[in-house]
Symmetry: C2
Subunit: 345 residues, 2 copies
């Protein structure tokens, strides 16, 4: 009898915020890699709010979409445990998008648009960083802060979801560029963590006096805004924008899954009014390639001690659904939220 | 007994689209200019949807706001008929913001942020152009097309409300830049007028097959979008945007006065999704100063026969309320909509 493994599948499409009960744990045989396939053992699984799109009943053009019963999509760091492909050898560590399962058989020649699994050098940094500071979140923070926000020394840049995987890196890059960096996060513990990372000031969006905190944190107004949330946080930031401000639109977690209900009726008019009144420029960039030097820059800053990368780790694949749901409920995680699925063999 | 004149005041705040009945015509004495004041006789009044903001019950920060009974705000071209100010002499023609009245006494030293009335040279062009192609609408078209849309030769630029004062000029500037220009307007007559102005293709947003018309008009997708409307038109444009598109946000008539009801619930999520998925950049610019050469460029293009400026004229101050209301109902006017209030003395 084949050895078995755990995987987590979509049980029901999410309405509004995802719940842990939208997922089901299954015990299935470990797959056998076919010709030119590799067998990957999942070590780390990234908890990424982006994949909220995949579990909406409405298929979003251009985004991954799951059918009920499909294994949940997710970025992973894995160990190659068997290989029928000349480019991969057992013992190598790779980063890919193999989903919420303990093992996956992957055909590198038929990979999705992100390309075949990327081989990681474990000597450079802990391999979990391939899902964070030395992976897509790091590239995203780099591109959004350097290419879109473009803060000049002394300008003020605000960041929503600043304690998140992208925001915590983006803020530190803002400091490296010489900007005054204001982090917006929920709760005193996360705000405290941002100050420890070197942010100049913070505003707690869960506090009753959030508006006053934000104004005090940016006494000269806000010149650039790295937005990960949209929603009420962003409307408050809008009130503090200076003329000619830049906004990097990295995410809009406040509106995910709102295809039906929609946001508050004042949100869109407020957005338009702000764009017009301040000459705000907004740019979406997550889908754009970061510059080829993004990861080199980041690795250099880490080596120089200018950049630290907090991680929050939960243990075991079974913890993934609750961790995913917690992101939308405003959890206490600082930095990249990761599931440790297994140790290397 | 003093001579009298007509003026139009706000009778009730607008809810949704303004109605002619929101205004009242009054007969009042012609004002007498005080020290360092000038008396202006209104020749032309611009019908401008922007001033919808002024007649909302909710005061919009940074925008003109009327109290009930106030004279309606509007841009005008006037003749100086009496002057107690050394910079102005009777017989001069000026452009200012004197509102919906036949005469106004103005203090050039205490003018609003737009500065004192601007003296116009009637030898250069018909004086009504100071409210259109050689005034703010022309500058707005120039800035939005050249500085924000930035179409490269061969790229496709779409324009909403393309038959309007700004859109009709913006489209022609797009042609001068070598772009393929697609105009969006309501009804066959306005679409026909755009083709006569040299637009490459048109899409009639009132037609049942608008989506198909737009797709056919932009077979290679849309690289830049000069938006005057927001709303359903803009959502349809979004479906045709190419990666890295630019959007100049000049107006959003679909959402004016929507502070309470809000747009359809899908509008804001669709905007965010599009920004993210295409890397769209959006810039508000109407409030930014146009380059100092904008009006020179435009005057040059007119002289070279490369730019024409349609105008639609209604007669008499009393026609202003209905003309203003018609803008929001999608009227048949092509180019700048003007009220001819009086002839020069």
């Amino acid at each position: 009898m084949a050895e078995t493994m755990k995987q987590i599948v979509l049980k029901s499409y999410a309405r509004g915020n995802p719940r842990a009960e939208d997922f089901a744990l299954q015990e299935v045989p470990i797959p056998v890699p076919g010709p030119r396939e590799v067998l990957l053992k999942t070590l780390w699984l990234a908890v990424d709010p982006l994949f909220r799109f995949a579990i909406d009943e409405v298929r979003l053009s251009g985004a991954t979409h799951l059918e009920l019963g499909d294994v949940m999509v997710g970025a992973t760091v894995s160990e190659v445990v068997a290989s029928n492909h000349p480019d991969y050898a057992p013992g190598q560590i790779v980063e890919g998008r193999t989903g919420w399962r303990e093992y996956a058989a992957v055909a590198p020649d038929q990979s999705d648009y992100r390309g075949p699994p990327r081989i990681i050098d474990p000597a450079l940094a802990p391999v979990s960083t391939a899902l964070g500071v030395l992976g897509m979140p790091g590239q995203t923070a780099h591109g959004g802060m350097i290419d879109v926000c473009k803060p000049k020394p002394g300008e003020t840049v605000a960041i929503s979801a600043a304690a998140g995987a992208v925001g915590s890196i983006a803020g530190q890059i803002g400091k490296i560029l010489g900007a005054r960096v204001v982090g917006i996060a929920g709760g005193p513990a996360k705000c405290r963590a941002l100050l420890d990372l070197g942010f100049d000031a913070v505003a707690d969006y869960k506090a009753l006096d959030f508006a006053a905190q934000l104004q005090a944190a940016a006494p000269n107004g806000i010149d650039a805004y790295f937005d990960n949330t949209g929603g009420a946080i962003t409307l408050e930031v809008f009130k503090n924008l200076n003329r000619g401000a830049r906004m990097a639109m990295c995410g809009y977690i406040a509106y995910y899954g709102m295809g039906y209900e929609g946001p508050g009726p004042d949100h869109l008019p407020a957005l338009y009014r702000t764009i017009m009144a301040t000459g705000l420029s907004i740019q979406g960039f997550a889908g754009l390639m970061a510059g080829p030097n993004a990861l080199e820059d980041i690795a250099g800053w880490i080596a120089e001690g200018k950049l630290t990368y907090p991680e929050t780790v939960v243990e075991g694949l079974g913890a993934a659904p609750a961790a995913f749901a917690s992101v939308f409920a405003g959890n206490a995680a600082v930095g990249k939220l990761l599931v440790r699925v297994a140790e290397t063999s």
